[in-house]
């Protein structure tokens, strides 16, 4: 009899102990937010342009986590679709043309400053606060913060915002891959060389 009681007491106390431990752990090591959403969001380009039909990358990430298609982000393009497909274990699909095409060069906004009338409309449109200015003052784009989302172009009443390709300087420039022509064999090579000399 006493063995049974001892067993029950031991088991009950063990159960209580582990229950408390688990309860503590669930509070202490709680993960804020939805980890899938964050992972998806990390893969999106954060241009915040809304071309996907959502008001920003995070909302689209949330939608993807809820089963939305992964091919709606033009700024991300094929590489982002591939990365999302890898993450979520789904088949990659080609970019949905309905939302726009992928740009081959990154763009930044440029305000023609002498034409700016200081209406502040572009500031209100910029999703990442990349425009500096005040009412009736000249406005300008902080190039390093601009994601090239295009959203400021439309609201400008005097159309003084241009999207220009991001400039390369000597620190951002890099070698292009050698152009791979036809792979030659030794005999080809000789004839090609004589041609070049001729």
């Amino acid at each position: 009899m006493s063995t049974i009681i001892i067993a029950i007491v031991v088991l009950a106390s063990l159960a209580a102990l582990f229950g408390a431990l688990l309860g503590f752990a669930s509070v202490r090591f709680r993960v804020e937010g939805n980890p899938v959403v964050d992972q998806v969001n990390d893969l999106l380009p954060q241009t915040q342009c809304g071309q996907c039909g959502f008001p920003g990358c995070k909302p689209y990430a949330e939608a993807i986590a809820d089963g939305e298609k992964i091919n709606k982000c033009p700024p991300g393009g094929e590489s982002t679709i591939q990365a999302l497909a890898d993450l979520l274990g789904v088949e990659p699909e080609p970019l949905d043309a309905e939302h726009g095409a992928e740009k081959d060069v990154p763009m930044v906004a440029y305000i023609r400053e002498d034409e700016c009338i200081g209406c502040t409309k572009c500031i209100q449109a910029c999703p990442v606060d990349a425009i500096l200015g005040a009412a009736k003052q000249m406005h300008t784009v902080i190039v390093d913060e601009c994601t090239g989302c295009d959203l400021c172009v439309e609201p400008c009443p005097v159309d003084c915002i241009d999207m220009v390709p991001q400039s390369t300087d000597t620190s951002s420039w890099y070698w292009q891959a050698p152009t791979t022509g036809v792979e030659l064999i030794a005999t080809d090579r000789r004839s090609l060389k004589t041609e070049a000399h001729a």
Partner: protein, 747 residues
């Protein structure tokens, strides 16, 4: 050499033809002054320097012309005295051929130095051996010294080893790349400076020993260094170590491995092993800077290759055009010839020769086509594995090539792509002549770009989230304010209901009245101003001499009138406020529309009517011909009496605010010189119908203004701003009318 140093070997490496004899057989010559010096602001790794001179300034030799921007950066000095002729974008010596901001100096030929002296004298010390380390570092930074071996990393930053304890200083005099002899000649002719630089570096680093690694193909340099060691009594700390000739033993990691047997871990820095490596040229520049206060304004550059007649080394001012140096050396360009900056292994072909020599230019190689043939078209990789045997960094060049070609950058990274020192040994041995290094440079660049993009995306995410948060906060604040206002209004309403008429809230009223008085005073002043201006305007109109001032007066007048109008509006608003504070303060003495006054008006009008009637009766009795006129007068007077009566009655009604406001407005507009008598009637008898009409008309106007604005916007006209203003004004008016209408409606 006093110590026996056990040498080690690194894997791989190649033995290309040295081709050094051509240029190291004659002493260093001093290059003549060119007609202009072009100094790029970005000659080092890190942020470009910031110009501190302007176009047209005259500068002296050694004067600072650009300050460092941030920690990893270096200043720039004028290499000779002269005038700054431009600060503009010019093509810089870089593989990209891009342009960057450069300072252009037109030499005056005097070559006058700016005042400069050794650090010891500057500090006024007796013993030049114990200069504080921070002063030494500061001097090195101020003199713009950046690694002269090729990379151009700011030396002061590299010497800042932080928490790492340094025990060994290595001076790199290997100069393993074919053709280049600049360091060789420097060691031969300036061995003493090199040793002095080593002493200073040892002091800064607190290191015990210094190893100077020199390849065994430079016996003269080794001998010169040994002599200098004896002169400086430094045989115990500094060793000149002869190492076997093999490319690339001058690579930092390779040299460290040869001299110490230690391998710098992947992605690590030598300082983590207690080692700092500097080029011998850098050491000599440090000696110059510390002992004589001479900044880095010149360097030794090899000009060689079969396309130049006079091969050799030149001491050349930074900024000297390559073409100038080449012509000094007797350059004979032939067809399809290039000029390479750097050596044949790691250098790059210059797009033009109108480019300046910079801090890192150790060699200009002008080979003939026969000497250094252009690349043949690449063939397929035959997987021979020669590249892996040649790689000094123990990488798998073939794998890296496949990954780079397929743009599988993550895999290339996993195969330690970033440990590749781009030495070119693999390309050199590749039987298929694949430009392997270019593939690696491409993938490194692509990966760096990807990383930068990821960083930027992260930044954008943070900014986006911050913006959303801010917008939400602002919305919440607005909501809270709106609620507070609604509550206050509700309270006021209830108070009003509880205490109808007469009982003013004692606090609010005086304040409101005070405001009102102020506004009224301002109004009076403005009216006086208007009168004066009008007078002046009249005078000006009469006097032809003052005619030119008319527009000024007119605009002043218009402004004051505008002001009066706004004041009037303010007053009306203040009055409304005062009134809405519970049923407004009883009969107001100052108010021309108070019931008492209106009553008086009515009474006088009635009295006048009486007299008019009497006169009429008299005239009729006498049969005078004035009867008609008098009758008309009586009729008018009757109408007036009726008006006055109506006004009085209206004013007796509890809420007379609308009429007050309106009448005030008319009064003001009268003052402002507008003819508007009929409005008096409106004022006296708030006529909701009339208001409604006005309201509709105003709405119409607003619509029209909006339309016009849209049109202007669509066509991008200049008038948009003006139209916007106009629209706003119309909207204001509409709001005013609406308010009036609603109050009248209540009556």
């Amino acid at each position: 050499m006093t110590h026996l140093i056990q040498l080690h070997e690194f894997d791989g490496g190649i033995h290309p033809p040295e081709n050094k004899r051509q240029s190291n057989s004659r002493p260093i010559r001093k290059a003549s002054l060119p007609s202009e010096l072009v100094l790029p602001l970005h000659q080092h790794i890190g942020a470009p320097a910031n110009p501190v001179v302007a176009v047209g300034d005259t500068v002296l030799k050694g004067q600072v012309i650009a300050e460092p921007e941030g920690f990893v950066s270096a200043p720039l000095h004028a290499p000779t005295s002269g005038k700054i002729s431009a600060i503009e974008a010019r093509q810089v010596p870089h593989a990209s051929g891009l342009s960057e901001t450069c300072i252009v100096i037109e030499p005056d030929g005097e070559d006058t130095w700016v005042e400069h002296q050794g650090l010891c004298d500057t500090l006024g010390l007796d013993h030049c051996d114990d200069i504080p380390v921070d002063k030494l570092l500061e001097r090195i930074r101020d003199c713009g010294i950046a690694g002269m071996g090729g990379a151009g990393f700011p030396t002061a930053v590299k010497l800042n080893t932080g928490k790492h304890k340094i025990d060994t200083l290595i001076l790199n005099g290997a100069e393993c790349e074919p053709y280049i002899t600049a360091d060789d000649m420097l060691m031969r002719e300036h061995a003493s400076e090199v040793i002095r630089g080593a002493q200073i570096l040892l002091q800064i680093l607190g290191a015990e020993r210094c190893l100077i690694g020199v390849e065994d193909n430079k016996p003269e340099a080794i001998a010169a260094l040994d002599d200098a060691l004896v002169q400086h009594n430094e045989e115990h700390h500094i060793d000149v170590v002869t190492i076997p000739t093999k490319y690339p033993s001058g690579g930092e990691k390779q040299l460290i491995q040869i001299l110490t047997g230690k391998e710098v871990p992947s992605g690590g820095i030598p300082a983590s092993l207690g080692i700092v490596c500097q080029n011998v040229g850098t050491a000599a520049a440090i000696a110059d800077a510390v002992d004589f206060g001479r900044p880095l304004i010149s360097r030794i550059t090899t000009v060689t290759g079969d396309a130049v007649r006079d091969k050799g080394n030149w001491e050349v001012l930074l900024g000297t055009p390559v073409s100038h140096l080449l012509s000094l050396s007797g350059y004979r360009p032939a067809k399809r010839e290039r000029v390479v900056m750097g050596g044949p292994m790691m250098g790059f072909a210059l797009p033009t020769t109108e480019l300046p020599v910079v801090k890192t230019t150790n060699c200009l190689l002008a080979p003939t086509e026969k000497e250094l043939p252009t690349n043949n078209p690449a063939m397929a990789c035959i997987r021979c594995g020669l590249c892996a045997d040649a790689c000094p960094a123990d990488l798998l060049p073939q794998q890296l090539y496949w990954f780079s070609k397929a743009q599988e950058f993550d895999k290339a990274e996993q195969h330690n792509l970033f440990d590749c020192i781009e030495c070119g040994a693999c390309s050199y041995v590749c039987p298929s002549e694949i430009p392997l290094v270019q593939y690696y440079r491409f993938s490194k660049g692509a990966i760096r770009e990807e990383r930068a993009a990821a960083e930027k995306a992260e930044q954008a995410r943070i900014r986006y989230e911050a913006r959303i948060e801010r917008q939400e906060r602002e919305k919440a604040e607005k909501e809270a304010k709106r609620k507070a206002r609604a509550e206050a209004a509700a309270k006021a309403q209830s108070v009003k209901k509880e205490a109808p008429a007469a009982k003013a809230s004692p606090v609010a009223e005086p304040a409101a009245n005070a405001d009102l008085e102020k506004l009224q005073k301002q109004l009076a002043a403005a009216q006086a101003a208007v009168a004066k201006t009008k007078e002046k305007l009249e005078a000006a109109r009469e006097d032809p001499e003052k005619a030119d001032k008319i527009p000024a007066f007119e605009s002043a007048l218009a402004k004051t009138q505008d002001k009066i109008k706004t004041l009037a509006k303010d007053i009306a608003a203040a009055k409304k406020a005062a009134k809405s504070a519970p049923a407004a303060a009883g009969p107001d003495k100052g108010d021309p529309n108070s019931p008492e006054r209106l009553q008086k008006k009515w009474e006088t009008a009635a009295a006048r009517l009486e007299t008019a009637r009497k006169r009429l009766a008299d005239a009729e009795a006498n049969g005078a011909d004035t009867v008609d006129a008098l009758r008309a007068g009586v009729e008018k007077q009757e109408a007036r009496v009726a008006e006055a009566k109506a006004a009085y009655e209206a004013s007796l009604n509890s809420d007379a605010s609308a009429s007050t406001g309106a009448s005030l407005e008319t009064a003001v507009s009268n003052n402002a010189g507008t003819d508007n008598t009929s409005a008096e009637t409106v004022a006296a008898k708030p006529n909701s119908e009339q208001l409604q009409k006005k309201l509709l008309a105003q709405k119409d106007r607003v619509e029209k203004a909006k339309e016009r604005l849209e049109m202007a916007r669509a066509e991008g006209l200049d008038s948009v701003e003006a139209l916007e203003k106009a629209l706003n004004k119309q909207l204001d008016k509409l709001a005013a009318f609406e308010a009036q209408a609603s109050t009248t409606g209540e009556v």
